[in-house]
Amino acid sequence: MIARRLITRSSLLIWVIVCGSLVSSAQHGGAEPKRESRYPLITSEELKILIDSKATQDIVIVDTQPSEYFAEAHIPGAVSLPYTNRIKPPVNLPRTKTLVLYCPCQNEEESTEMAIQLERLGYSKLQLLRGGIPRWRELKYPTAEVSTGKDPTEKP
């Protein structure tokens, strides 16, 4: 019962954030220059709210950086799926959740390419993090690192 209520709550929060960002970008184009994107964009600020409110049950954050960079710094909770021009199935990502992809690119070039490939593999719930990890870092949001033999640890 509690779990069901939590899921409903988190879904509602995601819905509010997505609608909010759509309305906001329609009104004044957002703080950043408006760009065409093949997939819905989520901002770092919005993703941070989801993470902070522990409402990430319905999403999987996917990091497309090379694994060495993922080990050094990634968005807390993200899973690593390094960029490749040909994703080889099987892909160990759930199809029922929204995949939020990010790359080290400012204009989501790599995450877009990865999303296209995932879409071809049957993934339909795809979102891209606007500005990728550079924007996340610019905002001085926390990142996690992978320490050998330890769980990912957050650092400010």
Binding site: N85, P104, Q106
Partner: protein
């Protein structure tokens, strides 16, 4: 049956002559090999429209053949090659060129002054963590080389040149022409 002495001579010869050759090759080798994929890596832009920002030029220039020129450090040697690279970029509008200094963020004032005084329009950048940057490992760079110049086409290394200078720069020019012709 072959005499053990002959076998011994062959083995010793290969150790005596083969090993130094191999060592020499590994000493001068630097950078990803031709055919390898160019992974994305962030740099700190010192000049250009993204000045002061973290930029991934591999991602940004995916559509165009791109030259990534990694320099060990700033100075006269880098200056002469960077000027040539700037000319090369002006002559070939189809290609993109980025200069990356391994030395790191301390090189920023020198690079800014150099770009201003020489009208350099190619982006001059530095590795965020200098010699400790992950890009060195990911790109298999030998940080002792004066420079490592990689040309990438469709995210694959098409050419790899090491220790390019103003005197042998023609080597790079002709390589670029060949790569562009093969596209």
């Amino acid at each position: 049956m072959r005499s053990p002495l002959v076998v011994l001579i062959v083995v010793l010869s290969s150790i005596a002559f083969g090993a130094p050759c191999f060592a020499e090759q590994s000493k001068t080798a630097s950078g990803l090999a031709v055919g390898e994929m160019t992974p994305s890596f962030p740099v700190l832009a010192v000049t250009g429209p993204h000045k002061g920002k973290e930029v991934c030029y591999v991602c940004a220039f995916t559509g165009a053949p791109t030259i990534f020129a990694f320099f060990r450090q700033t100075g006269d040697e880098m200056a002469s090659v960077a000027r040539e690279l700037n000319q090369l970029a002006r002559r070939n509008q189809d290609i993109r060129v980025v200069a990356i200094v391994i030395e790191g963020q301390d090189s920023q004032p020198w690079l800014e002054k150099f770009a201003q005084e020489n009208g350099i329009t190619i982006p001059l950048t530095v590795l965020r963590n200098g010699k400790d940057d992950i890009a060195i490992k990911v790109y298999k760079l030998n940080a002792n080389m004066n420079n490592t110049i990689l040309m990438s086409v469709k995210r694959e290394v098409a050419a790899n040149l090491v220790n390019v200078n103003a005197e042998n720069f023609n080597m790079l020019t002709s390589t670029v022409s060949k790569v562009l012709d093969q596209r």
